[in-house]
Symmetry: C2
Subunit: 373 residues, 2 copies
């Protein structure tokens, strides 16, 4: 039996979005869900307790980064990633594929795998499907992603076809190499770029391997959002109803709502945490660049409609001061707020699905707040 099981609760009659639960060895996740990213075994600036306080149900961590530093063998020796970082709820690890392909001239792809140089010390490394499974098994996350090749955008049909077929062969090798199926579920990744027939080919091939969950890969790589939505519209219906669907690398409020409407259950993105450290907040009134001079004497909270720790206790004027003075507390407060904002948004999305009114919710959200990020 798989470590991961999807329980479908209902489909929104108005939008077609899915409400569900994912059962994992470390607990149940309510979907659709946003997963905060803890790249280096820490969600930047936050403690596990603070993540729980804002109802983070699952976090993501990055295989490439942990393999480079501190090393998967060390994490295994520490008792696995959960114990190492003091997080007892579910974790998902990506495969490192996206990171090594992003290294550009520093990497070389062959059928066997990818050779690359470390971004830290320039040392030479080789990642193959087998090696990635060894690493992800050592980390011990509840959900592991298969090692795939993520094609860039734009890319020719030939490039994307070759790449998706290699992704299928690598997915097969991942499945064979995965050593801990009882405690960790391996998800397959559907590629195919912006080509409908290639998405169909990839979905068919990956589904034949029968994974407990599927990701839609190769999106949010620079294409216009409308194109991403179009690809989702013909890709998610290809995926089985009884397995979770994960859209990788998406975290803007509008795309979370649009993705849910198109049948996606899981999302992750560094956006909320990254812009927080730059002094930018996501709010119910749109983007608030807290470091702007106009907030110097604004003694109201970042978001008057928010009840997070930052909004209950601090003014824009104070947080702006912290941002300008490069104080760590600035990152902490805005990160807390942004993650709380997205997690709360997904809670509202789930409630709207429950009430068969997600399209109305979307309209309210955009009409009231004119959101764009």
């Amino acid at each position: 039996m798989s470590a991961i099981r999807y329980e479908h609760i209902k489909t929104c009659k108005q939008s077609g979005a899915r409400l569900g639960r994912i059962h994992t060895p470390h607990g149940i996740i309510e979907t659709p869900i946003f997963m905060p990213v803890g790249t280096q075994a820490t969600v930047k600036s936050m403690t596990p307790e603070e993540l729980k306080e804002i109802n983070s149900q699952i976090i993501l961590s990055n295989t490439y980064h942990l393999y480079m530093r501190p090393g998967h063998d060390l994490v295994k020796e520490a008792g696995g990633l959960h114990k190492f970082m003091n997080w007892d709820r579910p974790i998902l690890t990506d495969s490192g594929g996206f990171q090594v392909f992003s290294l550009g001239p520093l990497r070389k792809i062959t059928e066997e795998g990818v050779e690359f140089r470390s971004h830290i010390d320039g040392s030479k490394h080789f990642l193959s499907p087998e090696k990635v499974m060894e690493i992800e098994n050592a980390l011990g996350a509840d959900i592991m992603m298969a090692f795939d090749e993520c094609a860039p955008y734009p890319a020719s049909r030939d490039y994307v076809k070759n790449s998706l077929e290699r992704t299928t062969r690598w997915a097969k090798r991942c499945k064979e190499a995965h050593k801990n199926t009882e405690n960790q579920g391996l998800f397959g990744i559907v590629q195919g770029g912006m080509y409908k027939d290639l998405r169909e080919q990839s979905a068919k091939e990956i589904m034949e391997l029968d994974f407990p969950g599927y990701a839609v890969g190769g999106l949010s790589v620079g294409e216009p959002k409308e194109l991403m939505y179009e690809v989702l519209e013909y890709t998610t219906p290809l995926l089985p109803e009884d397995k979770p669907r994960y859209l990788m690398g998406v975290g803007s409020p509008d795309a979370l709502i649009e993705g849910a409407i198109r049948g996606i259950d899981m999302f992750d993105c560094v956006l909320p945490t990254r812009i927080a450290r730059n002094g930018t907040a996501m709010t119910s009134q749109g983007k608030v660049v807290v470091r702007n001079a106009k907030y110097a004497r604004d003694f109201t909270p970042i978001d008057p409609e928010c009840d997070c720790y930052a909004c209950k206790n601090y003014t824009k004027a104070y947080i702006r001061h912290l941002v300008k003075a490069n104080e760590i507390l600035a990152s902490r407060l805005i990160t807390t707020h942004n993650l709380h904002f997205l997690l709360k948004l997904m809670e509202n999305v789930r409630q709207a699905i429950r009430e068969d009114r997600l399209l109305d919710f979307r309209e309210e959200f955009f009409t009231k707040y004119g959101y764009e990020l």
Copy 2:
């Protein structure tokens, strides 16, 4: 009546150290006490709630920094420093003197005050006793320090004599300019460098002005610790029994114990928070440089005898990983630990005074742990 009142509880029969309480508008402080430093209206990396969790009774904030950024008028508009930074316990503000004198060639001292250029944007500023009182009154701390001239070490007798006499004249001007005596207590500062007769002269002159508390200034400026202890030995007996005594800029564990033995009630220093951000912990086994390679696979806490949040939940291996990866959580965890360590040390010092055994405690502390920092 003064905003600040010292209540003497007892004197340690073995060491002569004082146990007491300082009554302030924002509550009572038990002395001897260490005050964490929140330079820019935040104790770096910590929230007020976390400071309370480790029993911080009072924090210090820096007048020079807040005057420069965000400006004392803005802090006043926010409702004062307590409200601005969300801290409802006592605060002490220094006078900015130490910072502007440290600017070296960027400042010019006259009888009227000090002209200097901002470390942020190079703009020209002028601080006088009257201006400093205006700033400290705007900040609204429970305890304010008078604007003094801190002589460097080494300095000639003539230099130190001139400087202490100017400090007396400035102290008088501060007292006259202080506008909020009901809610804020102004402390005088005794200067005189390493010259016994000059300390006597300064103490006599400053005490004639009758402040509700006195600081010993001009120490911990580069002189050997033995010399600092010697100066304390002949300076604190000059100070009145019924007022608190504050040794500025001292925060190493050994100096806190030695200072208490020499009759000091209050201490502050950036040491614990600064070395924390550099990956160094103060522990019951001495200094632990967490970033060192030897801790890479050390799955024990920073300090096995400690019950702080960091030591209860994380290993050296994990914290070292965070330090190496430049993660904010590293600063948070080690800062929490270091401040907890010093606050707990002072709690133990108070208990030892209560039991008339502070000299024994000192011996146990050094024999057992061989502490040096």
